[in-house]
């Protein structure tokens, strides 16, 4: 029997925390990192007599998420109760959406290096998060932290359109970038603001039937998503090659050991006894309201890329890099406007700023330097008051601690030697100190010229404008001959 070529079929369910101040159904703060159970109201605790009240801001952000993923936002969606008992679920039901979700039928364009592809989005629904159960080492008791309970989420469910771990990663990155772009979510994965479940199955290439799938739960980094899917595809491939069958199961991923583990085997579908929540009215969104939310969206990345190409005369590649995130594009544009020469600013951002960020594994949000101050730094170079080299060496420090470039240059005495007298004296000194080199100099003797330049630059502490030094040296040597 010849081996059948197998195709991966991957779908992602992504939970994204909406960027609200308060919870989905209560006025308790959404906050991270305080003492446990600090942001908990009577509603969060499900005290007798409490009722949920929908956070209008969360709805607006969820609609944004639906609009940027080209989903149809429904004029009426319904909150439903999903029942299960767990200590971190105070009402013993989660308020979610079931039969009538907020939005359906969208898509997202990804490029995993094989050209652009559209990935379908099945649905987007709103729901509240559960709390956290903590099992301290050695402590038989479970501790419950309800700070997360009630935090607003959207669940974004993709079609099973992804065909490789790389595509899954690309999808997740594209989704994250869009959600951040419209400020629907901060998507800070370390804070659990973006979590992903992956459904993975295999089938013979060309088949249209879906194979038995497994679900890998709670993947909270791009790397883990790709690694976990890769591991699961390998496992299923080995299993099928041996003539075995994949069993429907829920899996976890142990990132430290790069290994999957079985959380539970699904024998039949869970019964969550969903029914419409009678405490909440159906969520009605008029066409007008949806259009208001659409109109309030910021300029989206494609439009901005196009505009930067046109107005700033940037290459397609450069423009695309600058709109990698809205924060980067904003920072660049403010700097470009303050400086006046977009092309120059773009070069500095693309080369030096991004390199400094990569060095630190940071994103533009970590930058403390105001874009206007960055423009000031570049103007110092333009004016010859500092060398480009000086600017480049100051940049990492300035980027991450901020401050006034001009003051820093003055304070550290980094101003370029631009006084003609001082520069000429340094050139003269170099010539006098190296008579042999001078004597042996012939026209276009690049080696000798570079040596002398090095001497002058060292004498001026690197603050001389190299072009000017070269000009002076060349003039003096030519005159001498």
């Amino acid at each position: 029997m010849s081996p059948v070529e197998l195709e991966m079929v991957i779908g992602l369910e992504v939970h994204v925390q909406l960027r609200t101040r308060t919870k989905l159904f209560s006025s308790a703060d959404v906050s991270y990192g305080d003492a446990p159970n600090h942001h908990v109201s009577a509603v969060c605790l499900a005290l007798p007599g409490t009722l949920p009240v929908l956070n209008a801001r969360a709805v607006e952000l969820a609609v944004r998420a639906a609009l940027v993923t080209h989903c149809k936002v429904h004029p009426c969606s319904v909150f439903a109760r999903k029942h299960y008992f767990y200590p971190d679920l105070p009402k013993a039901y989660q308020i979610s959406q079931y039969e009538d979700p907020l939005a359906t039928g969208g898509w997202l364009e990804i490029d995993a290096g094989t050209g652009p592809r559209r990935i379908g989005i099945t649905r987007i629904h709103m729901e509240e998060d559960a709390g956290k159960s903590l099992h301290e080492n050695g402590d038989p008791e479970t501790q419950v932290n309800l700070d997360r309970a009630g935090v607003p989420l959207v669940e974004i469910v993709s079609e099973p359109d992804l065909r490789s771990p790389e595509e899954a990663g690309a999808y997740l990155r594209a989704l994250r970038r869009l959600l951040r772009w419209v400020e629907a979510s901060d998507t800070d994965m370390e804070k659990g603001q973006l979590r992903c479940d992956a459904n993975v199955s295999l089938r013979p290439r060309g088949s249209t039937r879906l194979g038995t799938r497994t679900e890998i739960k709670n993947l909270n980094s791009f790397r883990f998503v790709e690694a976990a899917i890769r591991a699961e595809v390998e496992r299923q491939t080995r299993l099928l090659a041996k003539g075995g069958a994949v069993q429907q199961a829920t899996l976890g991923f142990d990132a430290e050991r790069d290994r999957l583990f079985v959380m539970r085997i699904k024998e039949n579908a869970d019964d969550y006894r969903y029914f419409p929540d009678p405490d909440l009215l159906p969520l009605r969104l008029s066409e007008q309201r949806i259009e208001e939310i659409r109109a309030a969206l910021p300029e989206l990345s494609d439009a901005r890329e196009e505009r930067l190409r046109r107005e700033h005369a940037l290459s397609a590649g450069d423009a695309r890099t600058l709109v990698a995130s809205r924060a980067l594009a904003d920072w660049y544009e403010v700097a470009a406007r303050a400086h006046g020469q977009p092309r120059t600013v773009a070069n500095w951002v693309l080369r030096d700023v991004l390199a400094a960020l990569r060095e630190r594994d940071a994103e533009i949000e970590a930058v403390a330097l105001a874009p206007e101050a960055f423009a000031t730094l570049l103007r110092l170079v333009d004016a010859g008051r500092i060398t480009a080299k000086t600017a480049r060496s100051l940049l990492p420090e300035l980027l991450f601690t901020g401050g006034d470039p001009e003051a820093l240059v003055r304070e550290r005495g980094l101003e370029a030697v631009s006084d003609p007298g001082a520069l000429e004296a340094a050139v003269e000194a170099a010539l006098v100190a190296n008579p042999k080199v001078v004597a042996s100099y012939t026209a276009d003797d690049a080696k000798a010229l570079n040596f002398l330049m090095g001497q002058v630059m060292r004498a001026t502490g690197g603050k001389a404008d190299p072009a000017r030094v070269r000009e002076l040296l060349a003039g003096r040597l030519a005159g001498r001959r």
């Binding site: 499900a46 007798p48 007599g49 009240v53 929908l54 200590p87 006894r273 009678p278």
Partner: protein, 486 residues
């Protein structure tokens, strides 16, 4: 023993004339409660010191000419499923033994803002599930007209407290008749407002789409005064109507001329209706006709499915609403938990009574995969049909008249062994909850020494109109002045 208290309007007049103080009123209520409640068991908790302090504050306000409302300084009782900050809220359930609410229900906050004095918290069927107050973990309440009989339920404590003259007013909750049925059986006025008229925030949920807080009093006018204080939109309850507080009291003109009453044909055909009950209700309708109302017959064909639909929806919602009592965060927790599953199972097995367990089981079944469409969805469809029935009926009449209950008060223990018989007795009351309509029960005489209730059902939001009819009837009759032989 202290005298039974009179109507709110009389008390108000006495307070304003200075012939009595709020402190004296509250003292009288407390004294009467102390004297009678060993027999009635209407109260679960009495707020003696707090009520006296609040009464003194009301007296001080009145002396300064700063009374806040017609209810300022008036004592009242609230059902123990309506929370008040710093007070217990047991819902007559072991599972909430010792629980103290940290917040006020919206109705409580509004009563306090109006200066009303909450004298105590009244008995009920556990989590308001029942029609006799026998499902209370603290034991049943007794009907002031015959202590061997049930006051009805689930707001039996609130109703008994008013009927016995302990307090002039009380709050109950009505999910399928839990205010109107005991009001009928104890000879007082009880009202279920239109759904969404009164905030449910702070009412411990039984069946969220049916529950509504409402007033109990000796007269429709007293109920109107209480409804005016507690009604109106509340941002904390998403199902509360975007309507301002009612001004019902001003609508009580005593005039019913020009109104058309619809006599419910199905009430005649209903097999279990006692002839004495039917006769009194017919006579009450005849009295309203003499007052100038027109009477015609109407039909609500789908009411024959109402009990089935009600017990599907109410149990489904109850099974969900009561899932939170898990012993994890508050209330009773089993002492015998070894695993998480045992914590849940034993806490709930020990904490809930038999009727509550029965309804949780029924409701869980109703919502289960594979049964949802057959039961829950079907019941919701019945609900829609029932609403259409009412819409059609209200095309030709302004209010529907029918008995509140098929029979007068039954003996304690008489129906406890037959839950289905108990459920079927709700036949005249559940439709109003399913359709979200206002309903009021007014005493219309005694049958063999036991009170009979005339029920009026109105169009959604026409709460004031219903109370106007009830008030007009009481202006022409003296049934509400009859006192139980205590």
């Amino acid at each position: 023993m202290s005298e039974p208290c009179g109507a709110v309007s009389e008390l108000r007049a006495q307070l304003d004339a200075g012939s009595i103080t709020s402190a004296a009123l509250v003292e009288r209520s407390l004294a009467r409660q102390a004297a009678l409640d060993a027999r009635l068991h209407a109260f679960l908790f009495v707020r003696r010191e707090a009520a006296l302090r609040e009464a003194a504050e009301a007296d001080a306000r009145r002396a300064r000419g700063e009374s806040r409302s017609p209810l300022d300084g008036i004592p009242l009782a609230i059902k123990d499923n309506i929370v008040q900050a710093g007070e217990p809220a047991s819902c007559a359930s072991r599972i909430l033994a010792g629980y103290v609410s940290p917040f006020d229900a919206t109705v409580v906050a509004r009563l306090r803002a109006a200066g009303a004095v909450i004298a105590g918290r009244t008995n009920l069927d556990e989590f308001a599930m029942g029609s006799s107050t026998e499902n209370s973990c603290a034991g049943p309440s007794h009907n002031p007209w015959d202590l061997e009989r049930s006051p009805g339920g689930s707001s039996g404590g609130s109703v008994a407290a008013v009927a016995a003259g302990i307090v002039p007013l009380a709050l109950g909750s009505d999910t399928g008749g839990s205010i109107r049925q005991p009001a009928a059986l104890c000879g007082v006025v009880g009202m279920k407002p239109s759904y969404g008229r009164v905030s449910r925030y702070g009412l411990v949920a039984f069946a969220s789409s049916l529950d509504q807080i409402g007033p109990v009093g000796r007269t429709a006018a007293d109920c109107a005064a209480l409804l005016d204080v507690i009604s109106g939109h509340d941002v904390n309850d998403s199902t509360s109507l975007p309507e301002p507080p009612l001004a019902t009291s001003a609508a009580l003109t005593g005039d019913v001329s020009g109104l058309t009453l619809g006599w419910l044909r199905e009430a005649d055909d209903s097999p279990g209706v006692a002839p004495g009950v039917l006769a009194h209700v017919r006579e009450a309708v005849a009295e309203l006709e003499r007052a100038g109302a027109k009477v015609r017959e109407v039909s609500l064909p789908h009411t024959r499915h109402a009990i089935a639909a009600y017990y599907l929806i109410a149990t489904a919602e109850a099974s969900s609403n009561l899932a939170r009592y898990d012993g994890v965060r508050y209330g009773r927790r089993t002492l015998r938990d070894a695993t998480l599953t045992e914590l849940y199972e034993r806490t709930r097995a020990e904490g809930f009574g038999a009727e509550v367990k029965r309804r949780i089981l029924l409701g869980t079944y109703v919502l289960s995969a594979g049964y949802y469409d057959a039961y829950y969805r079907k019941a919701q469809q019945v609900r829609t049909l029932l609403r259409r029935d009412f819409d059609a009926a209200f095309e030709v009449c302004d209010a529907i008249v029918l008995p509140t209950t098929p029979e007068t008060a039954f003996r304690l223990g008489e129906k406890t062994s037959d839950p289905l018989a108990m459920y079927l007795a709700d036949v005249f009351t559940v439709s109003a909850n399913l359709a979200g309509l206002p309903g009021v029960s007014v005493p219309c005489g005694l049958d063999a020494g036991l009170p009979v209730g005339l029920q009026l059902l109105g169009r959604p939001l026409e709460d004031a109109n219903l109370l106007r009819i009830a008030d007009a009837y009481q202006r022409r009759t003296r049934h509400h002045l009859a006192r139980p032989p205590l």
